[in-house]
Symmetry: C2
Subunit: 154 residues, 2 copies
């Protein structure tokens, strides 16, 4: 069992890109979507677009200087709910060899802390309907599955 | 029946704020969430936060110089799907006196056009599970209800 005291949360750096892509590809739904080569221009450009945007926070969890989990927070200003900022979470991933040790909860709690720091009125995410284990995980964290999540390739 | 040729799409302006808040409040779920006074600082600040962010597009539909529908697009840079930009849609509203005349489809098609212009790989939105009419509407537009939508008040 991993000692959570040894985990460290920080903003992702460009040098993390190979490990971030490994986490994204190491997933039942993601494995056919990603290329193996993290030096590809599309990934470097995307990283820089995230990193230069004050409303994006690509959060990683480090253990012994290795990135073992990630997620992306996007802060969305809006008029609804008296002009509340909302936090949208995408790309939640934990190293497949280290699951079941509370790392997902740990990084999600860090994300919720960041959302509270920015005074967000709402945190939201969607999860593919096939990911039933993930749904139980989010429910345990206090999320309510109150919405249908719609996607379209434009 | 409204002549769709008379509809005009444009980016929202600060002077639209009273009408935008009217549209947000004129809704079964939104009516208890919003204040009546659009001059309140929280709304003006939120409008400016949206308007000054290159990744936000608060889109309105005008008929005879009156705003009759709205939605908010947020462009989210990400690493997934080979660094694809995704478009998130919030706050889709049509004047309750003008529903059933294709205005919702009209403004959604404008939003999808903006997403294609930015080369988005995915467009996404969530809709409260109680809004079954809205779900049929999004499905007709080509959206797939493939995801669970989770929300949490942090």
């Amino acid at each position: 069992m991993i000692d959570h005291e040894k985990l460290k949360a920080r903003r992702a750096r460009l040098s993390d890109l190979p490990q971030l892509l490994k986490l994204l590809a190491d997933d039942a739904l993601g494995k056919n979507r990603e290329a193996a080569d993290s030096s590809e221009a599309c990934y470097v450009q995307a990283f820089n677009a995230i990193d230069s945007d004050a409303n994006q926070y690509l959060l990683v969890c480090e253990l012994d200087r290795e990135v073992i989990a990630m997620l992306q927070l996007t802060f969305i200003p809006g008029l609804s709910r008296r002009g509340a900022l909302r936090a949208n979470i995408e790309a939640v991933r934990v190293d497949s060899g280290l699951r079941g040790q509370g790392i997902g909860s740990w990084i999600m709690r860090k994300a919720l802390h960041l959302a509270r720091e920015r005074d967000c009125g709402l945190v939201q995410l969607t999860s593919d309907k096939s990911r039933t284990k993930a749904h139980r995980f989010y429910t345990r964290l206090g999320f309510i599955g109150s919405h249908e999540g719609f996607k379209l390739k434009p």
